[in-house]
Each structure stands twice: as C-alpha cells, then as structure tokens.
Symmetry: C2
Subunit: 303 residues, 2 copies
C-alpha cells in the first residue's frame, strides 16, 4: 500500500573514529523512504532541497522507485546540511554544524495525488510542519510519527497536538524520558500513550527496541554487530522498515507490528554497516529476510 | 542435582530513593543459594560469618533447605558488612562503607561430602579463593563463575587462571568491556571466551542479558518493571536461577541454557521488587513459572 513520507532531506558530513564521508545523502525522509522501498510501493516523498540536489541524488531515490514528485526544488537555494562527529563508543555524537538553508522556510505541500495515501510517516521535523501535513491528508489507515529532543524541549505544545493525531509514535529512550519526565520506561510509556498514540515504540540503540500496545510489551533484541561503522540514519531506517512491513502485509495487528519492529531493526542493522545510506542502496530481499531470521534466532527458545 | 555455592555472606545497609533497609542479609552466595533453592536440592553453601550471624539468619537459609554445613562461623568475629546508596535512576550506586571483618581471612574449606557436587557456582570473591575452591572439588559437570571490576583490575592474572578452569563465566557489560578493553560486546565476548569459558553470559541490567556459546548468541529481554525497589543482589540472583534451572533439568545444552538465562532473569526481576532478599524468601513455583512465561511473551512472534 502507498506510503507518504514527509521529513528532512540533507547532505551530511559524517566523521567517525574510522574515517569520514562528506556530502552524503541524508535527512530523515531519505532514510525512511529508502528503507521502506524494499517492502512496498509506491513510496511518496515530500520535502525540500536546493538546486545543489542534482540528478545523481534524485537518481538514488528513483532507483528504488521512490516517487519524488512532492519534493520541492528551490532554485538557487542550498539543501539543508548537517555535520557531526561520532565518539569512539559510537553511542554519542557532537553536532559540528547545522545549516538549515532551504529547509528554514519549508512549507510542506502534499500533492493532490498523495493525499489519499494509506500510510503516513512523519519524519523528525518541526511539529508545526507535522500538523500542516496532517491537515492536508485524507483518512489514512495509519499515521506514524518520529521526533527528537530539540522539539520536545522547544515546541512541547505543538508536539502534544501532533501526538493527539498519530497512531504510532517512535522515539528513542532518552527522548521518551525527556517527554515524560520519568526515568522508568514502563511509566513513561503509559504517560506518552495517554497523550494520544495507542502504540509506542521506544528505540534503545544497541539495546534493541520496545513496542508498547494495548496487548502488552514486545522486546526486540538488537543485532550484536561486530563493527558499527556509522549510526547516522539508523532510527529513520528503523521507522522505514517498520512501516514498510506493515504496508506490505496490509494488516495492522499485534503480531505484524512485532514483526515490523524486527524488520525495522534488521534494516537499521544494515544501515550502520556503511556510511550514510550506502548500505541501503544495495540491499536485496534475500539479505533482508536472512537478517530478519537472525533476529528471530536471537530470541528463539525451543519447548 | 547438587549445587555447591561459594561466595560472600554479609549484612548490608541499603539506601535507595525510596527508603532504607539496615542489617539486611546479603552477600553473593546468599542470593545465589536462595535463588537456586527454588529449582533443585541440595544446595550446599560455603562461606564465612561471625557470631553476629544468628539462628534467625541461618533460619532463612534452612527454610529453603539450603545446607549450611560448609559455612564457617568465627567465634567473636563480625560478619562482612557493606553499605551502599543507590541513585535516583537505580543504575548507579555509591559504596558508603565496606567492613571485611571475618571475610578478610576467609579460607574456603570444602567439606568432604560437598566435593563431588555436580554443579559449582563460584560467586564474586577474590579469584585466589576461587582457585582454592577449584583445587578441592572433584569432576563437577559444570563450573560457573562470577566476578567484578575490583578483581578484574586488582588480580587480573589470578582471574585468568580461574577463567581457564570454568565452563560458564557471568559478568555485566561494563566488567566484560573492562576485561577485554574493547567497547564492542561481540569482540569482547570472543576475547573472553578465548580465555577459557566456552560459554559467556553478559548481564546488561535493565537491558537484559546476552548468552554467547559455540552455537551463536541468545538475547534475553529484561522484564519492564514499573518500579525497581532495590537492585542489590540481582546479578547473583540471576546466576542462582540460571544454575538452578540447569541443575533441575539435568541437561546442559543450548536450549536449556537459553531457558536458564530466562529463569535467571525472572528470579532477578523478583529480587529487585523488595529490599535485599526479602522477595526471594517468599516466592512460590507458580509465580516463577508465570514470570518465566511473561519473559517468553516479551519476545514471542507468531508465524
């Protein structure tokens, strides 16, 4: 089923203990769309780029059958840029530079043919913009939303309005605790779910992810990777795999959401193996299924 | 099958954000033995206490059919005492006081009737003492060993000699990284397993546990507890549940070890619900089985 993805599009300069990668295709919607593209189509992207976003960049998206009709190209504008450096343990990073550029004036416009998309994924952008997206779409089956500490601290009221209108909210553990003000994740989950989203996914990085629904709690393991090369985009890639699986199977129930969390985790585990979205550009379905099976094996218990 | 448990016995003064509990029965072997006692018998304890360790304390152990013939009582001596304060997040604690007392001169003596125990659990004590225990026992089926950063830093050579002689080594993640010098847990596990123990369990506190064997990796979730009251002894309780399950089922294979990790996790999740070993004194088998099923449910995926 169709997925509408709205979020940032960027060029990233990434520095890790292993080296660096400059002018790397990035942004939340880029990772979400690339990840979801392995599961379903059409994937419809809405975002904004400058004229420095060339055919070679669009080509990477089109190669995955991602529809970029909704991407606004600002003539003589420059695409959003982010530069960051990861620490030795890869769990923490410093932002070295942020240049919003054309993203500063981004007004999401959802093309008419996108408005009936059945699945909507709101990548991590200003909650005011997320609300504007929600105002333009018609009866989606599922709305998923991501955010970050910057918006939790900076626009809490707008974020609360978004939360009232989404089905599934995805955050990492520190963001969830920031939002609830409680260190306990069970209490945190209850508090966030009472704000609107019936389903909550808390990502814990190298410790996996937790899915909270009316039916209980699902704990997904993390893939014990020998080397993590670049964590950039892993969270967005997770969201893309999750929504991609749900869209592909066409059912939204407890078990498919659990599988979705594992597919999301599998996609994220690929993402970190190379710089930026490089690994996401070259996957095949067999690899993804193999990795998914490895996730199942990680918690398999015989009777 | 019989389990020999060697470790510390103590009185703890525990301070948490919720209150305090003084003169609480503690020590690694106490928690291991109490936890294992729900699975199998006989449990045979070797340790040392002072004359302040009275009938009421022995009574708590005997109530669980724990054999304390191997516990040395030093006349006019004082039992090992530890005092600690947990921080708000319950993941970190400060040691406020340590009084080794009779534990300072502890020389483990394994009674003749204990020497043929099939399962041996070396609680967290000086690796030199762990070696002395290993020298006194005869052909056990399984030797499990725990340690802590104090010994990894203070007696690395002695610890290496212990590791050459144990089957299963249990440590937490920070201790494992300290021992390997590598932040990556997969590399860390390979390094530690090359030192001797074929099987390694890395405990990750609120993030569960990882089991590394020749057959692969098993990732156990943590129980998402709403309130953690007192984490003291949780790691030892885990070890007790793990070895208890293996001893009960009498088989040591991949699947039973995986189940053992879940039973250990279940016991640890009870332990933290009350001060010290209070919760471990009042469990029943049905509760344990229910909690174990909850652990299975946490990672259950239908086809």
């Amino acid at each position: 089923m169709s997925i509408l993805v709205v979020g940032s599009m960027a060029f990233d300069d990434i520095e890790t203990p292993f080296g660096r990668s400059d002018n790397t295709l990035g942004g939340s919607s880029t990772y979400i769309a690339l990840s979801a593209s392995y599961f379903t189509d059409p994937i419809r992207m809405v975002g904004v780029v400058g004229s420095d976003f060339g055919d070679e960049h669009f080509g990477l998206l089109h190669a995955k059958n991602i529809d970029t009709e909704g991407v606004q190209v600002v003539e003589n504008g420059k695409t959003f840029r982010w530069a960051g450096r990861y620490h030795y343990d890869m769990n923490t990073r410093d932002t070295l530079d942020t240049q919003l550029n054309v993203f500063a004036d981004f007004e999401p416009h959802i093309p008419q043919q996108y408005r009936e998309s059945k699945f909507v994924c709101l990548g991590n952008i200003d909650p005011e913009l997320q609300l504007k997206v929600l105002d333009q779409i018609e009866k989606p089956d599922l709305v998923i939303c991501d955010t970050m500490n910057f918006w939790i601290e900076g626009k809490p009221e707008e974020l609360k309005k978004v939360l009232e209108r989404v089905d599934i909210f995805i955050v990492n553990d520190s963001e969830a605790r920031l939002l609830s003000g409680d260190p306990n994740l069970v209490k945190t989950a209850r508090m966030i779910r009472s704000m609107g989203p019936k389903t909550l996914i808390i990502k814990k990085g190298e410790h996996g992810a937790l899915l909270f629904t009316d039916n209980g709690i699902f704990s997904a393991p993390a893939f014990p990777l020998e080397s993590i090369f670049d964590p950039t985009g892993a969270g967005d890639t997770f969201a893309g795999g999750f929504i991609g699986h749900l869209s592909r199977c066409g059912e939204i129930n407890e078990n498919e959401m659990r599988k979705g969390v594992l597919y999301g985790s599998a996609m994220a585990s690929f993402c970190v193996e190379q710089y930026g979205p490089d690994r996401l550009n070259e996957l095949d379905l067999l690899e993804i299924e193999d990795r998914y099976q490895s996730f199942l094996d990680l918690s398999r218990i015989g009777s």
